[in-house]
């Protein structure tokens, strides 16, 4: 089998989307940590358009954008499928993948509330709660995972809610994904972190706290 390499960063949720997909399918790979303040020449060569991680390199060929990488992995290594068989259900899954991408990225209310304070933050909190409501009611519904009984591509797409949101909440001091307001999503968070592959593949909790605290201080200082 051709070599698989993943260029990533230890704290990036997007990188973890790819790690989970690789681990769930049992695909061996080499991991290369990239310093985003000092990007390696290979990274710039592999991702000239966005210059970002993650980049998956398979047999020397680079693939960029976390969910595009996950779809590539899904098609190339079909064991333990992450997408449903049925074309309509596949389209529904892809809708939620796009929703996750569009609503949890760095410009989303979740990160805006992390980067702001006062009125701006209030507004971001409100919008974050609205997004959580949509996902709870329309996305997850009565299912254990977004993928049904097993983890699927949509669970992977909502990586931010699985773990990163908790750090935003803790550092900023606001509870968003509350067990009362969002019982299903709250249960999902718990269930997801109990899956061995996920549990064993999360960035260190202590290190994340330090990192998030530092970032928040930097952001507040520059305002």
């Amino acid at each position: 089998m051709a070599e698989v390499k993943l260029h990533g960063r230890w704290s990036s949720p997007y990188v973890y989307r790819v790690i989970w997909a690789l681990k769930l399918k049992g695909i061996p790979y080499e991991y290369i940590e990239e310093d985003l303040f000092n990007k390696g020449p290979l990274l710039l060569q592999y991702n000239p358009v966005h210059k970002k991680v993650p980049v998956l390199v398979h047999g020397g060929k680079p693939i960029c954008e976390s969910m595009i990488i996950v779809e590539y992995i899904e098609q190339t290594w079909p064991q333990n499928p992450l997408l449903p068989n049925n074309p309509y259900e596949r389209a529904m899954a892809r809708f939620w993948v796009k929703f996750a991408d569009d609503n949890t990225d760095k410009d989303s209310p979740f990160w805006l509330l992390f980067r702001s304070s006062g009125e701006k933050q209030e507004k971001a909190i409100k919008e974050s709660l609205e997004i959580l409501k949509v996902v709870e009611e329309h996305g997850l519904g009565e299912k254990k995972f977004f993928g049904g009984d097993k983890i699927g591509i949509v669970d992977i797409a909502f990586v931010e809610f699985a773990y990163w949101l908790g750090f935003i909440e803790e550092i900023v001091g606001v509870k968003l994904l509350d067990a009362h307001a969002f019982p299903r999503l709250h249960a999902w968070q718990k269930n997801l972190k109990e899956v061995p592959v996920i549990k064993e593949n999360l960035p260190d909790h202590g290190e994340m706290l330090v990192y998030f605290k530092w970032r928040r201080e930097m952001l507040m200082a520059s305002q």
């Binding site: 693939i63 954008e65 590539y72 309509y88 389209a91 809708f95 329309h138």
Partner: protein
């Protein structure tokens, strides 16, 4: 696919995302109904089918709604296997294609909209960003068409061809109204040739609205945006 498949597209003529789906249905020769939505007065049907975003396009297949144009395209491609296949089977080529389609729909379209709905200094700034995105696309075209732009046929048209032409097809009328070049043959010669070739496709040509209609809509868009930003 069964003969009795009922396909209905809810759309709005000015949306490139709707145009993309409409064109795909025509190229694949899929019998469908089209419902023009008034976005000031969305039909209850639309709100029912797309409660989350309340946007077009919505493709309803046998009563089941599908949203997001690129997702709809992949569904159509997987389900109706006649005619040209818009997505390659090869996973690497597919990944590249998805990357560039998303680039045009997001980075190119969004910066273009900023140019169309702003003026003065803001428009200059927006235009600079837009041209940077087009330059990036121009570089990639060299990889896609290493021997230059060939004749494009309705039978061998691919997904990126469709995404590019539907996103940029109204550029001439927009240029004339705004008094600034959007697709400059000197700045982005390959993109210009490619777009020109694509605009010659019979199904694309037929569907091009009149100059006045495009200008009318642009005027309306600018009114709405500039009104709300100066409020």
């Amino acid at each position: 696919m069964a003969e009795e498949t009922k396909v209905r597209l809810h759309g709005m003529w000015a949306s490139p995302f709707v145009r993309l789906v409409k064109l795909t249905l025509e190229i694949k020769d899929i019998q469908s109904e089209y419902v023009e939505e008034d976005l000031e007065n969305r039909s209850l049907v639309l709100l029912n089918y797309n409660p989350i975003h309340k946007k077009v396009p919505v493709l309803v297949v046998n009563g089941k709604p599908l949203v997001e144009s690129l997702i709809i395209l992949e569904y159509i491609d997987e389900t109706w296997r006649n005619g040209p296949r818009f997505l390659p089977e090869d996973p690497y080529k597919k990944a590249q294609l998805r990357f560039w389609c998303s680039f045009v729909h997001k980075q190119v379209f969004e910066t273009m909209m900023s140019v169309l709905t702003s003026d003065g200094e803001e428009q200059e700034k927006a235009a600079k960003e837009f041209f940077e995105r087009l330059s990036t696309l121009e570089e990639e075209i060299k990889n896609i068409f290493p021997e230059g732009i060939q004749v494009i046929d309705q039978k061998n048209v691919g997904l990126l061809d469709l995404v590019v032409v539907t996103t940029l097809s109204h550029y001439k009328a927009q240029e004339e109204y705004l008094g600034l070049k959007l697709i400059d043959p000197e700045m982005t010669p390959l993109l210009f040739s490619w777009l020109t070739a694509l605009l010659e496709l019979p199904l694309v040509k037929e569907a091009l609205p009149h100059h006045e209609k495009v200008v009318g809509f642009l005027k309306y868009l600018r009114q709405e945006t500039l009104k709300s930003t100066s409020a």
